[in-house]
């Protein structure tokens, strides 16, 4: 659209210059606006920076540094080469969205006595802190998830970690947590804290994670 206007402007300008004596101020057409669709990579709350790939059928760009942005005019044009956006510009455009981003969830990791659903004494001490966090955050979505390591059969581990989650949930319910906010489940051995090969005993993977959102 703008190109058409530029085209019309130029013959008009030429016409004016020729017909008038003496120099006349020339209106400079404004530069085309940058594409309005913006994708910018930001650091995590802990300062780590990941990667995103922005793609459409015409091309793709990878963003790897905090503040790097690519713009896309439309689906039929490739994303632009990434450039750094200033903090001010990011704040001006994304301020309201970023201010609305919730605080990350609070997670407690509880460990158990070997092969049992008994919490270690140290894990038991977490329970009042968990109850306080649920209250403070007014959580309606708290998960109690059992995890197992890769030693032993999948079924045995799934059942044991599930029973451990239920034991923790029971403590929370006894502490006054509303049942409808709790999700009690097990990820078995499929969501390890410390990735290991199969059949590896790893105490750090035998845990219940309570995540308060």
């Amino acid at each position: 659209m703008r190109d058409h206007r530029l085209f019309l402007l130029i013959p008009l300008l030429v016409g004016l210059l020729v017909s008038c004596a003496g120099p006349k101020p020339v209106a400079v057409p404004p530069p085309p606006a940058p594409p309005p669709n913006i994708f910018v990579l930001l650091p995590d709350p802990d300062g780590k920076v990941g990667r995103i790939e922005v793609s459409n059928p015409r091309g793709s760009e990878v963003l790897m540094e905090a503040g790097q942005a690519t713009r896309v005019a439309k689906a039929e044009e490739p994303p632009t080469v990434p450039i750094k956006m200033s903090d001010q510009e990011i704040a001006a455009i994304f301020g309201p969205a970023m201010a609305a981003l919730p605080t990350p969830p609070v997670r407690f990791i509880l460990y158990f006595e070997r092969d049992s659903i008994e919490l270690t004494p140290q894990a038991k001490q977490f329970v009042p802190q968990i109850l306080a966090a649920i209250k403070d955050r007014r959580s309606v979505d708290t998960s109690v998830v059992g995890h197992a390591d890769t030693a032993g059969s999948k079924e045995y581990n799934y059942r044991l970690s599930r029973r451990r989650a239920e034991a923790v949930a029971q403590l929370l319910l006894a502490g006054g947590v509303a049942p409808e906010i709790l999700e009690i489940t097990s990820h078995g051995k499929d969501n390890p804290a410390v990735p290991t090969g199969d059949n590896v005993s790893e105490p750090r993977n035998r845990r219940v994670e309570v995540t308060i959102r």
Partner: protein
């Protein structure tokens, strides 16, 4: 022995009522400013802090509004004013190998911090817009989409 059996039964009944099999909760609204809406099954619900969200919900903010949500895998998502995003697909069942998180943004501004699904299976996370799609590698980003519709 009897006591622990009773407790086990009570807990499993409670667990069943918490997360309904159909319309299963995928997250909830944590922050809200001004007027925002959740479109569910083509009906508009007023957004409220604490409202539980389900798959296919569409979040919409008005001109003076913003909203922040947390999904069940700890993904954080927020919208600035005049924005719209659909929670198109969500599955978080590592034990069953079901992992998926697809969001579809139509317009406005959004900020996004990936959660556990992005860590466990980056290729299962997609952030779609009318002009391009984002593939995620465990990270935080922001997006602005111009509303092109007449």
């Amino acid at each position: 022995m009897r006591v622990s059996a009773f407790l086990g039964l009570a807990l499993s009944l409670l667990a069943a009522s918490v997360w309904a099999a159909d319309g299963e909760t995928i997250g909830s609204i944590k922050n809200l400013r001004g007027q925002a809406t959740v479109v569910r099954n083509q009906q508009s619900l007023p957004a409220q802090v604490g409202l539980k969200l389900i798959k296919s919900d569409i979040l919409k903010t008005g001109s003076n509004s913003s909203i922040g949500v947390i999904l069940r895998d700890d993904t954080l998502l927020s919208l600035g004013p005049n924005s719209e995003i659909a929670l198109a697909d969500f599955a978080f069942s590592p034990n069953e190998g079901r992992l998926s998180l697809v969001t579809r943004m139509t317009k406005g501004t959004a900020a996004y911090l990936t959660g556990q699904i992005g860590r466990l299976s980056p290729q299962s996370v997609r952030f779609e817009t009318p002009v391009a799609t984002i593939g995620i590698r465990g990270t935080m980003f922001a997006v602005k989409i111009e509303d092109d519709r007449p």
